[in-house]
Amino acid sequence: MAEHDCGNEAAAYALGALEPAEAEAFALHMESCAVCRDEVAAFALVVDALPLAAPQHEIPRALRRRVMAQARAQPPPHAAATAPRWAWRGLAAAPRGAMAAFAVALAALALVGGIELSKGGTPTRVIKASIGAAELDISGGHGQLIVQKLPPPAQGRIYELWLQHGSSSPLPSTLFSVNSHGTADVGVPGDLHGVSRILVTDEPAGGSATPTGKTLIVAMLS
């Protein structure tokens, strides 16, 4: 660690203390720098432990009552429905500008040199990745997305996977990060029947109801 000198960005990055442009540049740098990736991964473990350095308090009983009351009053729609209706409501309410920006981002990605991974005979699909590499294995209607050389999301960000049916708006599927080597093995929840594209975008921690960040990976299924 001491001989490596890419600046002192790794700790500041892990703490979320870089300015947005610096964080983006450092994330790109990590793509080709294993030392910085390892350093950030080590610091990320410390960051995960830092909440315990705060003075510890009990859970306020009133807070627990409120949270549980709201949970009982508003069951997650996907629990009772066969289709994720909550996502459709979110999309219907999405600002037109956001969807237009997403369409532009997709168009831009189409111009990026795609990475085609086909393993003769195996159901692996064509993937376009603007950063890193990815492949999608499909078996029995279920998909497994394997990404490589993808930098860890910036502090307060997360990668989000989307399913798109035909030309309709993408529906949120799952959230993921990558390990210190930039790889992740992401199971795609549910059946892929009728899905035309699988997308990965960069989103705020907690995910978004509609895509707001940069589109990094696109898998064409039909």
Binding site: A12, D48, P55, P75, A184, V186, G206
Partner: protein
């Protein structure tokens, strides 16, 4: 999705790992959600309270984070395999938003007097005892750092300041701030050793 049917009481659910509980949460099981809440809300609230400095704001941040987990079900950060990390990252992110919003209104307070007061202690469970023991370990490691290194880490993590803002606050070059962060974080990593993988 496979859901074990024999585990129906809350006490039984308490035996399940977070990942198994989240499968039930995704299916709308409020008892499983309550178990997840009871496991992680205290540290989440403590973090939010440390960052926001006001109990009402901290409760609001924690409530939003857990209801987000409830609504989104299994859409937490699976790759890191930790519900706790996901919840704390959301709490941290939202608390920083609150801090910035408050800062725009009245200036950011980094020395809130309320933080000195402890909330009333309730019945201590084994989990609670373990949490406080882990907290002592991390707190001691942080306290052992040279004051200048501890300061920049606390300002960045708990107060949400960027390295440029910290440099301005402390009247030192930004490079010095980042250097202190790196030294301090390196020492914390060594001090916590393998225990960071198993805390909570």
């Amino acid at each position: 999705m496979y859901l074990p049917t024999r585990l129906t009481r809350s006490t039984d659910l308490g035996l399940l790992a977070d990942e198994d509980l989240m499968a039930r949460v995704y299916a709308g099981d409020t008892r499983a959600f309550a178990v997840v809440f009871d496991r992680h809300a205290a540290v989440a609230f403590s973090l939010a309270y440390r960052m926001c400095g006001r109990r009402a704001l901290a409760e609001e941040v924690v409530q939003e984070a857990f209801l987000s987990l409830w609504r989104s079900g299994a859409r937490y950060e699976r790759a890191r395999g930790s519900v706790r990390s996901w919840v704390l990252a959301v709490v941290h992110h939202r608390a920083i938003d609150v801090l910035r919003h408050e800062s725009a209104r009245a200036g950011r307070d980094i020395h809130d007097e309320e933080l000195g007061a402890s909330l009333p202690a309730e019945e201590r469970t084994d989990l609670e005892v373990e949490r406080r023991s882990d907290a002592r370990l991390v707190r001691n490691a942080l306290d052992e750092l040279p004051a200048d290194q501890r300061k920049v880490i606390e300002l960045a993590y708990f107060s949400g300041f960027s390295h440029s803002e910290i440099a301005e606050l402390l009247g030192i070059p930004a490079g010095t701030v980042k250097g202190r962060m790196r030294l301090g974080m390196g020492k914390l990593r060594l001090a916590l050793g393998d225990s960071v993988d198993v805390l909570l």
